[in-house]
């Protein structure tokens, strides 16, 4: 989990903005959080979100904790969804990534506006774009990982351990 987050942070910072049609960006860290949550459950998801968000806040000079709080919530809920529903097909995964990004934006921007720290204007287009991009990246990431040998069996074994 830590490795995945670190890699995502490295890519996020080194690749700078992954610009698609202007202001749409991809939050690789959030994608990793949702991926881990769907794969490992709510506990791992919330811990991953907390760690990733705090580190990302620290690296981006934001108020430390707002990003962490947002990603914690997203990681926890994504983990709940991953354990309660069958999220193995691309479409459900797309929905979870999309919804998770929207939720993250709401909490993140909402906290900044609530604390009167920053105004975001009308970010609906940007948020929707980011959600779509994250969803696409997330689904593609899942497909790539599952192409790895033994990935499916390891997933099933992990879920069996959880049920016990």
């Amino acid at each position: 989990m830590i490795l995945a987050v670190s890699a995502a942070l490295a890519l996020q910072t080194t690749l700078a903005r992954f610009l698609v049609r202007g202001a749409i960006t991809v939050d690789l860290v959030l994608v990793v959080v949702v991926y881990v949550a769907l794969s490992a459950g709510p506990t791992t998801g919330l811990l991953t979100g907390a760690f990733a968000g705090l580190v990302q806040d620290a690296l981006s000079s934001n108020i430390i904790g707002i990003g962490g709080l947002s990603k914690t919530i997203v990681g926890f809920l994504a983990g709940i969804i991953g354990t309660q529903f069958i999220v193995t097909q691309p479409l459900p995964r797309f929905v979870v990534f999309f919804g998770g990004t929207m939720l993250h934006a709401v909490v993140f921007m909402g906290l900044y506006m609530l604390l009167d720290l920053r105004q975001f204007g009308s970010p609906y287009g940007a948020v929707t774009g980011q959600a779509t991009a994250n969803a696409v990246v997330g689904v593609v990431a899942f497909q790539l990982v599952e192409l790895l040998p033994g990935a499916v069996e390891r997933r099933r074994a992990a879920k069996t351990r959880l049920r016990r």
Partner: protein, 282 residues
């Protein structure tokens, strides 16, 4: 390890992580008033809880006092009404006492001005018959009253003692049809006799046709009948008419309002005319 256990543990962990983030954020951010965010938010939430509780308690209190507590309000209301009625009666008694005091004060002032021996008396009763205009006073022979003693009030002449008993006396009002008094028009000194006409009017008779009497003239006692002291106000001339005889027909309005009379003075000193008459008899 069952799924509910895992979910419960992850739920606690989630809350703990959220709380940690909130504390972390609060430590970095102050509200617009310079107060830490956590403190501001916590106080804001707590104050809303306080407001809700206070409102609930006030509502319960209002229901209690406005409905359940009203059970005793009727009894309290009845008691207050009773006390109010008693207070009103007391107020009326005090008012009556004050009026009496004022009457006594006027009587006292009259007594001080009149160089006659007088005794104050209170009106304790009216006439038993409408045909005889009389009053009953609370002084009698024990107080030195005798028949034909004049009774006066601050406003003017009232009447005379007709029947004294030991402790009370009947006073014939000047307006009684059987009453009469020697009278003089104060302005012109025209003489005549005032007789009762019943009700609340007097007739002045035997006033010469040529006498100068007009409405508004004050009529006073002449003292010649030996009952009323000279110079006490009887009333004012109301109308003056020609009767076709040698005398005028004069109506006099009494100075005393007999209907509201409560106290009077009884003149104990005999008039000069009476003394002269007694001397002759002796």
């Amino acid at each position: 390890m069952t799924l509910p256990d895992i979910r419960q543990r992850s739920g606690y962990l989630f809350l703990a992580v959220i709380l940690g983030h909130v504390l972390l954020i609060s430590a970095q951010v102050n509200s617009a008033r310079g107060v830490p965010v956590l403190e501001a938010v916590t106080f804001g939430i707590f104050s809303e809880v306080q407001r809700t509780l206070s409102g609930g308690l006030s509502g319960i209190q209002n229901v209690w006092s406005g409905y359940i507590g009203l059970r005793h309000v009727k009894a309290e209301n009845d008691e207050l009404k009773r006390q109010l009625a008693a207070a009103q009666v007391t107020g009326q008694e005090q008012r009556a006492l004050a009026d009496r005091a004022r009457g006594f004060a006027a009587l006292l002032e009259l007594r001080q001005h009149v160089k006659l021996s007088t005794t104050a008396a209170e009106i304790i009763g009216g006439a038993a018959s409408a045909d005889f205009l009389t009053l009953t006073i609370d002084k009698g022979t024990r107080d030195g009253l005798r028949p034909d003693m004049a009774v006066i009030a601050p406003a003017g002449v009232v009447g005379r003692i007709v029947v004294p008993s030991a402790r009370s006396a009947k006073v014939q009002l000047l307006t009684d049809r059987n009453a009469a008094a020697g009278a003089i028009v104060e302005r012109t000194r025209a003489q005549g006799v005032v007789v009762g006409a019943g009700e609340d009017r007097l007739q002045m008779e035997y006033v010469s046709e040529v006498a100068d009497v007009v409405a508004g003239d004050v009529v006073v006692t002449s003292g010649i009948e030996g009952v009323y002291p000279k110079g006490f106000v009887i009333g004012r001339v109301e109308t003056v008419e020609k009767s076709g005889t040698a005398y005028k027909r004069i109506t006099v309005r009494p100075a005393v309002d007999f209907s509201s009379l409560e106290e009077a003075l009884v003149v104990l000193t005999p008039t000069p005319a009476k003394e002269a008459g007694q001397g002759v008899q002796e």
